[in-house]
């Protein structure tokens, strides 16, 4: 797209974009570190994730302020308006992603006593890989604004949901096998849920990008395969 007559406006938009990319990079790193800390019982790394969250929170606040000033100053229209509103929404999603990563990091200490069973650790790692791939790709799409790719990412959230459901089932089994697993498994259940929600936020971002690019909301229901809410209804 051609540039604005007021070049300072272009600079402001570029700045917002850059800050979103930075937030995205940090949020991604925090989530990866949190899972790493969890499966390895690395409390120092967990501490780092917790303190990084402050940076992310500040970044979101700064983006908000800058976006509001830009709206007030430039009265953006059409694609510009959608872009700035989209930026606000994405910043909020990324801030939540950071919170979820931080929440996982906080649970590292709680599960340290027992450690995380190998099999469950692998499941969590896999789930987190899926979610982080979603997040990473959606941030790439944010950079190139492809509505088509945004739509493709939105379709993939299903995979994470399915993986989460199977992990949920596995954790239940562990708890039933030995009540001493309950503390650790309950924490891991929250961790799994957090990771699944990171995937949801990535999907939100994909939808926002689709809106920025096209001015329309993506059509149809979001594909879902999270059946954990009915799991264990009848225990045989």
């Amino acid at each position: 797209m051609s540039s604005h007559i007021m070049s300072a406006f272009d600079e402001e938009l570029k700045y917002l974009n850059r800050r979103i990319s930075e937030m995205g990079g940090l949020a991604e790193q925090m989530c990866a570190d949190a899972v790493h800390a969890l499966v390895n019982g690395d409390s120092a790394l967990a501490q780092k994730v917790i303190s990084d969250d402050v940076i992310l929170d500040n970044a979101e606040r700064e983006i908000q302020e800058k976006a509001i000033v830009t709206i007030a100053k430039r009265q953006p229209m059409a694609a510009d308006l959608r872009e700035i509103i989209g930026t606000l929404r994405i910043a909020a999603d990324l801030e939540r992603v950071g919170d979820l990563g931080k929440n996982n990091a906080k649970r590292v200490i709680a599960v340290q006593g027992t450690g995380v069973p190998r099999k469950l650790a692998r499941g969590l790692e896999h789930l987190s890989e899926l979610a982080l791939v979603q997040l990473k790709e959606v941030l790439d799409v944010f950079a190139n604004r492809s509505a088509q790719k945004a739509e493709a990412i939105r379709q993939r959230d299903e995979e994470i949901d399915a993986m989460y459901t199977s992990l949920f089932r596995e954790l239940l089994t562990y708890m039933m096998e030995d009540p001493r697993n309950i503390t650790t498994c309950t924490h891991l259940l929250f961790c799994a849920k957090n990771i699944e929600r990171i995937g949801d936020h990535a999907t939100n971002i994909a939808e926002t990008i689709y809106y920025i690019a096209t001015g329309a909301q993506p059509q149809g229901e979001r594909p879902k395969d999270d059946s954990s809410n009915t799991l264990g209804a009848v225990v045989e």
């Binding site: 051609s2 540039s3 059409a78 694609a79 329309a216």
Partner: protein, 271 residues
């Protein structure tokens, strides 16, 4: 004001807007100033009880189009209009049409407030008098008061009706001109950048007025302020180089226009 009634009024207006046919229809309208062609086969219809905003860069033909709607271009010797423009189905360029009467039905408010150098009262009463709309002094008093009321100026000037209209502030003068246009009970009001010479407060008052006038009149407004078009109009038409580029619902026009040129123009980008 009660939110519910406000919403209900809006809804009723929208309903009416959809039910009624177009107030004015422009078909293949072209305008030439001597050899130079200023408008190219514009097809634009004006809906009843609707504010239609005409936007576009300077020299795009939006004011030219506006002026064809009440034959203001007749005053320019070299100007020639082709195509067909109707008001309630009647061709306004029909030789049998009385131009003075047409301009009473299709009133106009200009960029710069231009009150007559006479009293406030006479500014309003002049039109009704030449059109024979008042039978008595009482009649005329009523017309003057009603017009000033509608224009939201009555309370500010009711005690000084005999003072000169040119002594008012810019914003008041513009509302006086709107009151003057309303006084002859027009059906359509054309406004050519009515707020470009006004400060933000006077602008807000005029915009509020436009919003209210919509229930009784059909309004076409030319504006250079995109925000103003977005605020006051329900339909927006974008002109570029003498052509009508796009006409759309205002809400759509300013969030997701169909045409790239509209997009570039409203976002302040190089075309």
């Amino acid at each position: 004001m009660n939110m519910m009634t406000e919403a209900a009024v809006e809804k009723a207006l929208d309903q009416r807007m959809n039910d009624l046919s177009y107030k004015m229809i422009g078909k293949d309208v072209s305008v030439y100033y001597g050899e130079k062609r200023a408008l190219f086969d514009v097809n634009l219809n004006v809906r009843q009880n609707t504010v239609t905003a005409l936007i576009g860069p300077s020299g795009c033909g939006k004011s030219t189009f506006l002026r064809t709607l009440n034959r203001m271009n007749d005053t320019i010797d070299s100007c020639r209009v082709t195509g067909r423009i109707t008001l309630d189905g009647d061709d306004i360029y029909d030789p049998a049409i009385d131009v003075v009467e047409l301009r009473a039905r299709v009133g106009m408010v200009f960029q710069k407030p231009n009150p007559f150098p006479k009293s406030i009262y006479e500014n309003i009463s002049y039109g009704p008098r030449i059109h024979g709309l008042a039978r008595s002094k009482t009649d005329m008093d009523q017309i003057v008061e009603a017009s000033l009321q509608r224009a939201g100026l009555w309370n500010e000037v009711k005690d000084r009706l005999q003072e000169s209209g040119t002594g008012l502030s810019g914003g008041q003068q513009q509302r006086l001109c709107i009151a003057r246009a309303i006084a002859v009970s027009p059906e359509v009001i054309l406004m050519d950048e009515p707020c470009s010479a006004l400060d933000p407060i006077a602008t807000a008052k005029v915009e509020e007025l436009i919003h209210e006038l919509r229930s009784n009149y059909t309004i076409v407004i030319v504006t250079h302020s995109m925000q103003q078009a977005a605020r006051v109009s329900q339909r927006t038409a974008m002109f570029h180089l003498g052509q009508l580029v796009e006409e759309n619902d205002t809400d759509k026009m300013f969030t997701n226009p169909d045409d790239q040129r509209t997009q570039d123009y409203i976002m302040g980008r190089f075309g």
